[in-house]
């Protein structure tokens, strides 16, 4: 504890590796991920499906189930290594100091229990309060999420609420105890765009008002661009580019990041063909040797398929690092 007592970061992930035991051998879904997140900051983790971004989030929460496990690395939350914490202590943090919002709001609320039952249960999991107080807290949390007539919503079953409303309820549950860190795993992906924008702005407002740190996991670069302070781009279980969001988006150094940005439709390239990244993401069981992106990369050289490049800071901007032998602006 003494070593980390002056820790400026709320969360520091060091060399996190998470693997899944399968019949074909161990599948390394997350490989050497290191992240830092300060209080009140928003970190966006971006990548395509299977890039390990969700597994990273679940690993931080300690929600990796067998056959999966965290094989090495540390998750330091306020200087406390969550990977070494006994399950009851971890459970005490989960839902209280660290909470999670999931992708599909229709699945994350229990279909047979009323909203009030689920919310008061979440209150009672971490606070000894009376039933009336728990209900009051639940109702306050709902109005905080911009839900009108919260008491009526509390009496509803999840299937009586719209998708956006359900996700607001789920976020309200995540905000109940005023957590230090929220991990949001593609929480707006299942919603239509207008609802997505509303929820984004409400979450942004809450996070700023309360100084909550947020990890926003998404495949949607444009959502993260408007929300995050820092951004980590993941590919095949590794971070390939990491830095302040403006810097990474303005001058992306890794060809994969450039590919992601290039594949976004935008008004000033109207009429042009969308650029896509050729090829497919590699299977975790058949990782290419060397850089995982090399087979799809336009500037790959012989070294790229032999060695794995390190995540190295840029000379002129040390907070921005990239995992590439030939970093630089798009050709």
């Amino acid at each position: 504890m003494t070593v980390f007592s002056h820790e400026p970061y709320l969360l520091e992930v060091r060399d996190l590796c998470t693997g899944f035991d399968t019949r074909e051998g161990e599948l390394r879904a997350v490989e050497g991920v290191s992240l830092t997140l300060g209080r009140g900051k928003v970190l966006g983790i971006v990548g395509e499906s299977g890039s390990g971004k969700s597994v990273t989030g679940f690993s931080i929460m300690g929600l990796i189930d067998p056959p999966g496990r965290i094989t090495s690395g540390q998750v330091l939350f306020k200087g406390l290594d969550l990977t070494q914490l006994p399950p009851p202590a971890l459970r005490a943090l989960r839902g209280d100091r660290i909470t999670m919002i999931f992708q599909d709001p229709s699945g994350t609320l229990n279909p047979v229990l009323r909203v009030d039952v689920q919310m008061t249960e979440a209150v009672h999991a971490h606070r000894k309060v009376s039933k009336e107080q728990a209900r009051k807290l639940a109702s306050d949390a709902l109005s905080l999420m911009g839900i009108s007539s919260p008491d009526e919503r509390l009496r509803a079953y999840p299937h009586q609420l719209s998708g956006g409303m359900r996700q607001r309820v789920a976020i309200a549950i995540a905000m109940l105890h005023g957590p230090d860190l929220i991990i949001a795993d593609e929480p707006t992906t299942a919603l239509d765009v207008s609802i997505q924008a509303q929820i984004l702005s409400e979450v942004q407002k809450l996070v700023h008002e309360r100084g909550t740190s947020l990890i926003w996991i998404s495949h949607d670069l444009s959502v993260v661009a408007g929300l995050a302070d820092d951004i980590a781009v993941m590919y095949a279980g590794r971070i390939v580019e990491y830095g302040p969001v403006d810097d990474v988006l303005d001058r992306p150094q890794h060809p994969y990041t450039q590919g992601l940005i290039g594949s976004l439709p935008s008004a000033n390239r109207r009429g042009q063909r969308l650029r896509q990244i050729p090829g497919m993401a590699p299977s975790f069981l058949k990782m290419p040797s060397g850089c995982a992106f090399a087979p799809r990369c336009g500037r790959a050289q012989a070294t790229c398929s032999e060695q794995m490049p390190q995540l190295a800071p840029l000379c002129d901007q040390p907070s921005h690092s990239v995992r590439c032998f030939y970093p630089g602006a798009a050709a």
Binding site: M61, L63, R91, A92, L93, R94, G95, D96, T99, M100, F102, D104, G107, T108, L109, N110, P111, V112, L113, E121, A122, A125, H126, R155, Y157, H159, Q160, A170, I173
Partner: protein, 306 residues
Amino acid sequence: MSIKTEQTSKTAPSREHTIWWRVGQDFLASRPASVALGVLALIVLAALLAPWIAIQNPYDLMQIDVLDARLRPGSLSSEGSRTYWLGTDGQGRDLYSAIVYGLRISMAVGIGSAVIAGVIGTLVGLLAAYAGASVDAALMRLVDLLLSFPTILMALMILAWMGKGVGNVVLTLVLIEWSYYARTARGQALVEARRDYVEAARGQGLSSWRIAVGHVLPNCLPPLMVIAALQVARAITLEATLSFLGLGVPITEPSLGLLISNGYQYMLSNEYWISFFPGIALLATIMAINLVGDQLRDVFNPRLQR
């Protein structure tokens, strides 16, 4: 599912729709099932009110007159004070009263054993789903063993060992029936445990016990309720069979099965009613329960949802 919800909310927009209210609506959509539910309600009511609606207490030997034995349906009693609308049996019991009282025993045995077996089986099933591979394997092999054994043979063995009596019949039925619930509860719990809301509940820091009982169990209930309904019918049939074979309830307190058994010897001498009317009562009960159970299964089966 969502389409269905919209439809119901159109028909009665002001009502607060619980899941059970929707289940009720779906259930009553079928006419045979509604009729069966009505019949079942009447039977249960008759069983509950037996002491008040019967014309004599068939278990009270003082009220039975041997001179009235084997009277045809509609006959007057020997002292002329009452009519035996369904006739009398070999001991002079009024069959109508005996059936109403018999229903009481049959229903008590059926419902009692189904509920006790349901609670035990569900808990065992949840335990198997949660406790890890070795406990799961041990419990499920025991269930396989029980399910592969001929039911009637096992019931006969247990009753031969423990002796007759209503309590022992219930115990026997529980010993046989819990395995059905255990297997279904385990399978359902394994499916539900992989659902997102379980992950979300863990993310809220709830304990495994809390999640198993508070979240997974309620979602496992619909199929278990269907099994329970069908098991009540099965238990009643099995009790009737055991009583018919002479290993069930005592002869002084006849259930439906024993009444049928008692009348069996008179069948060939044209005194059909002693077996016939209890048989009809048993048939109506079993059919009503099965129809209700089938409809419950359809209502709860998401694949059959219109």
